[in-house]
């Protein structure tokens, strides 16, 4: 099985590798997959508190070249998008962009899951923050 040029490019020059402070209120962290499956992706987003636009994204992946490329591409795509626009990203688009063969489609699915998990985590933080604000106001 040979890789598409885009997969090779992302593998050799991965975009946005790194970590953010997962305790920050502006950061959402998604950790998907399992070591036993051979695929673990950590995707983090930093969301602007006023505009709710994803300002920055970082990733780290334990997985094959297609998995690394899928998550690297995911960080590229979510940057500059609103939360809703990011939620609309489909794994099929990743498959198309990277020309993933059928046996590697699951890597793109995991990347989509990672985006959702990061957004889900960020959303959870926003709800608890606003609850605190309401409680404080009452006092």
């Amino acid at each position: 099985m040979s890789y598409s040029n885009k997969v090779i490019d992302h593998y050799n020059n991965p975009r946005n590798v790194g970590s953010m402070d997962k305790n920050s209120a502006e950061v959402g962290t998604g950790l998907v997959g399992a070591p036993e499956c051979g695929d673990v992706m950590k995707l983090q987003i930093k969301v602007n508190p006023t505009t709710s636009i994803i300002e920055d994204a970082k990733f780290k992946t334990f997985g094959c070249g297609s998995a690394i490329a899928s998550s690297s591409l995911a960080t590229e795509w979510v940057k500059g998008k609103t939360i809703d626009e990011a939620l609309a990203i489909k794994n099929t688009e990743i498959v198309k962009e990277l020309s993933l063969p059928p046996v590697k489609i699951h890597c793109s699915v995991l990347a989509e899951d990672a985006i959702r998990a990061a957004i889900g985590d960020w959303k959870k933080k926003q709800t608890s923050t606003s609850a605190v604000v309401v409680a404080e106001a009452k006092v």
Binding site: V32, G33, V40, K60, F62, C64, G65
Partner: protein, 429 residues
Amino acid sequence: MSTEVTTLVDEKMVGERAAVKPNGGVKLPIYMDNHATTPVDPRVLEEMLPYFTDRFGNAASRNHSFGWAGEEAVETARERVAKVVGATSKEIVFTSGATESDNLAIKGVAEMYREKGNHIITAVTEHKAVLDTCKRLEKYGYRVTYLPVQKDGLVDLDDLKRAIDGKTILVTIMAANNEIGVLQPIAEIGKLCHEKGVIFHTDATQAVGKVPIDVIKQSIDLASISAHKMYGPKGVGALYVRRKNPRVQISPIIDGGGHERGMRSGTLNVPGIAGLGKACAICDEEMPQESCRMAGLRNRLRDRIMSNLDEVYINGSMEHRLPQNLNISFAYVEGESLLMGINDVAVSSGSACTSATLEPSYVLKALGTGDDLAHSSIRFGLGRFNTEAEVDYVADRVIETVQRLRELSPLYEMAKEGIDLKSVKWAAE
């Protein structure tokens, strides 16, 4: 002694590579996957060629010189194959390869000794040619016991002893494993089988020509041999079938003319067989020095890698192992991504991502290696034509790629933070 062998190899084959090249004197890509297959030794190719051109006769054509030439080549090869395993000529049957030899041995015994019993014993780490054949026999009503292996990859002789019962007709256990290179205690297994009156077959594909195999000393009744694992051509192999003490008989699986004493019909692949014979002769002569050189190279590769990386684990016993094999897991790094990073080196991995079925290596699983480490494994198979410079180059590429991929790895990050990965609740579970 080793200098002599190196010179021989250099003259014959490595001439091209002897010229100074960039990358520290190595020609790319480098082949280190000799358990998958081996290049044909130039001396073997030279031996084969006449049988494609002027000496093209069918070895079974008894009435003219074309046939006699073919027959002579076959009988010379037969003696050479017999010699490398300590057998006699009459005990060698030529096949299309070890897969066929495994099929012939197992199905051949099963059918011939049906009246005596229907129980077969094998091990979980066998090659698919053995395992799938056993599965097929189970469909025909045979009982098969798949012995587990210990953490080092070796079969427990007590397990074997307990498994043999009144209906056992065959024990089939490989001499050397293709993935982890581990050597089974063949002589002890053979002795036990003979004491119990059970036929012993060994898939010796990865062992012949690499470590000494002696069918008498190791009490072997049937042994599978493959040319392309020992610098011979693909598509040809042999099966050793014992004729004395005891005489072992097998039913053929291919009918059509009764060639090879009725055990394997079909026109003989004369050039292939000539090649197999020459490959055996070369191994027989050069094995002591070659295995010493292989061990030296393998240990050099191992030591260079392990002294520059932490959390690297060798899979399978180092003590009972083929001198040219190294199977290592690099924690926190997935195998296929590692292969991609060393794309100028040919090796293989036990990772699920590299298999067509997305299943991780069942051999590593049998050792008790966790799936995560199975996904992180690389198999190096050194060979006759690998050099020290190549070993150093490969080690350095592996080291730098592992380091780079660990920077990309969330697992490495978590481990460095002191998180116990086994305690994490993963989303996929």
